[in-house]
């Protein structure tokens, strides 16, 4: 068996001088790592024929910090803060995914109140993340006003987090055995106010962007990802649902209190950018629905079943847990030898990692400008890819 190991340079050869000086040549262009579309730092090497994209070679790793190596030296409580810094736009859900795995492994049972608070917060965060995505999509497609509207509303949701949690972005809130702080007395009233506001502004979003002929022209029938291809590429979240596969862990394997609330799994029909756009817009409405059902139904009880700082003993073996973040399935593989505090191996199956590669399947044949639309519709968070 011989295995050939390549380098990027093997792929990215400059085109050789053609026989005729007038012949057209394919050429390579680097999109990123410092590029507005990089959303962080992703490098897309584009093989172009004029404006048409022939091939996309994503080169991740510009924020690869080695979280998995770091996690091998930390105890489960300390690893929580690393999960914040993967997909920072769904930090709470990342916390939850890890806590869920640890709880399942160590056999920690939580109370109904804790699960309700977690679900509530996760849905608010999903709203925040989608609102931000909507703004960024607007910016990428040239509608800067959408960007600022999106951030205005993100800020309004963020204030609620700040009041409860004390952090704006990297929350470190959901811990094994509970949540860090209890919700405040006026939380319910504020959330209701927020929901009223958000219902109104999502309508505004439709007026400003969704109903715009130019936006629809930019998204409809662009970047079609078939369901088979999406599954084979391991895409999850709105990307997979946009292709018409109703795979949502909140429904398929309910966690938290998702089995007690009513909501619909939103799916698209064609798998184009417009479907992915609509899925996210509709998911915002579904999140509002979930929050509406839960906000008055938070049971009484403690917000933490474990003593804070108590050691967590993870039994020997492999433990796997996953849940649905705003971008797809975040899986946590936790391997412990049963002796040391620190796990033997922690692996995060990040949704963006798999979603990123969809771009290699979608992009060929479209224009440079469509790459922007496609990448925006995939809603990638680069540090989550790189970890």
């Amino acid at each position: 068996m011989t295995v050939t190991i390549k380098t990027l340079n093997d792929l990215v050869r400059p085109p050789t001088a053609a026989d005729s000086p007038m012949a057209t040549q394919e050429y390579f262009v680097n999109m990123g790592p410092q590029h507005p579309i990089a959303h962080g730092s992703l490098r897309l090497v584009l093989r172009l024929d004029g404006e048409t994209v022939r091939q996309v070679i994503p080169v991740p790793g510009f924020v690869h910090r080695g979280l998995e190596k770091m996690a091998e030296h930390l105890n489960p409580r300390q690893i929580i803060h690393l999960t914040d810094r993967m997909d920072y736009l769904s930090a709470l859900m990342n916390n939850w995914a890890f806590s869920k795995t640890v709880e399942k492994a160590a056999g920690i049972a939580t109370s109904a109140r804790i699960e309700t608070i977690r679900t509530l917060m996760a849905e608010l965060q999903r709203l925040q993340s989608h609102v931000l995505w909507w703004g960024v999509l607007g910016m990428d497609l040239g509608a800067l006003t959408a960007f600022l509207y999106g951030f205005r509303d993100r800020e309004i949701i963020g204030r609620l987090f700040e009041e409860t949690i004390g952090a704006r972005l990297t929350m470190n809130y959901i811990q094994p055995g509970g949540v860090m702080y209890d919700i405040r007395a006026d939380f319910a009233a504020k959330v209701k106010e927020l929901i009223k506001y958000l219902t109104r502004v999502i309508g505004e979003y439709d007026i400003l962007l969704s109903g715009n002929a130019i936006l629809q022209e930019r998204l409809r029938r662009i970047g079609i990802l078939s369901a088979e291809r999406a599954l084979s590429l391991g895409c999850t979240g709105p990307v997979l649902r946009g292709s018409g596969v109703p795979y949502d862990l909140r429904k398929v394997e309910p966690y938290g209190v998702y089995d007690k609330v009513e909501f619909d799994v939103v799916i698209g029909t064609q798998g184009d950018c417009w479907d992915r756009y609509c899925v996210r817009i509709e998911e915002m409405r579904q999140s509002i629905r979930i929050v509406e059902q839960l906000i008055d139904a938070v049971p009484e009880g403690p917000h933490m079943v474990m003593k804070f700082g108590a050691k967590i003993k993870i039994p020997e073996g492999m433990h796997y847990g996953h849940l649905e973040t705003a971008r797809g399935v975040l899986g946590v593989l936790l391997v412990s030898d049963g002796k040391s505090d620190a796990p033997q191996r922690v692996h995060f199956r990040s949704p963006n990692f798999n979603n990123l590669w969809a771009i290699t399947a979608i992009a060929p044949g479209w224009r440079i400008a469509d790459i922007i639309a496609i990448q925006s519709s995939l809603d990638l968070v680069i540090p989550d890819i790189d970890r």
Partner: protein
């Protein structure tokens, strides 16, 4: 010749006044027109570059909303987020592509020191000051948008007192944003000024060539970039 002109003018009777007032105009304009280069790699990019431009914070009040994507047109680089070894030469390249006068603001603990990834991470660069000279540090993980404005105002103050056309290419070194608790920059102003004037003045032109990273970038470019 143009470099020496201000020094010559200064010796002419009345020339010093001219140079000083030109200095004032220059520093006023530079400090009030800071266009950021959006160099966000991680979480801080959301807070430092996007949320600061958003309606609730609004960095356009300071005239800093003209975020340029091309380093040629930017005035200061906001390093928002962790820099890893793969990114480091690219970042240095971006810095060298910026036109003088250029400033660097390191925001967030990752950019300042490696922050939460300081230990056991095999790729992190512990502080961007290893790569580029940093003017202002804004601590936090991530810092609040208000902290960004603190940094922006600190940078403005630095520019206002720091530069003179009498010595082009020379500019003062960092003001530290993270002072011990209870001490403001006003308290140690004299001290800072003395230190800055005596020892900590950097020759930008010299520094750009002496920096170890310039060499590294050259090597890196030779290895990774094609010569047509």
């Amino acid at each position: 010749m143009t470099d020496r002109l201000p020094a010559i003018v200064e010796r002419v009777p009345g020339g010093a006044i001219l140079v000083t007032s030109l200095d004032a105009l220059m520093n006023w304009s530079r400090s009030n027109s800071l266009w950021p280069l959006a160099f966000g790699t991680k979480c801080c990019a959301i807070e430092m570059l996007m949320a600061t431009g958003a309606p609730h914070q609004d960095m356009s009040r300071f005239g800093a909303e003209v975020a340029r994507q091309s380093p040629r047109q930017a005035d200061f680089m906001v390093v928002a987020g962790a820099i890893v070894k793969k990114m480091a030469p690219r970042m240095r390249m971006l810095y060298e592509q910026m036109a003088e006068p250029r400033y660097v603001m390191a925001t967030g603990s990752c950019a300042i020191s490696g922050g939460p990834f300081m230990y056991n991470s095999y790729t992190i660069v512990r502080g961007v000051d290893e790569i580029v000279p940093v003017d202002v540090y804004v601590p936090g993980c991530p810092p609040r948008p208000e902290a960004f404005f603190w940094g922006l105002l600190a940078l403005q103050r630095l520019i206002k007192q720091g530069e003179t056309i009498g010595r082009p290419g020379i500019r003062r070194k960092p003001v530290l944003a993270a002072l011990p608790q209870g001490i403001t920059i006003e308290d140690i102003r004299e001290e800072v000024r003395r230190v800055l004037e005596e020892e900590n003045v950097v020759d930008v032109a010299h520094e750009a060539h002496a920096k170890i990273w310039t060499e590294r970038v050259k090597q890196w470019m030779a290895k990774h970039l094609y010569k047509p």
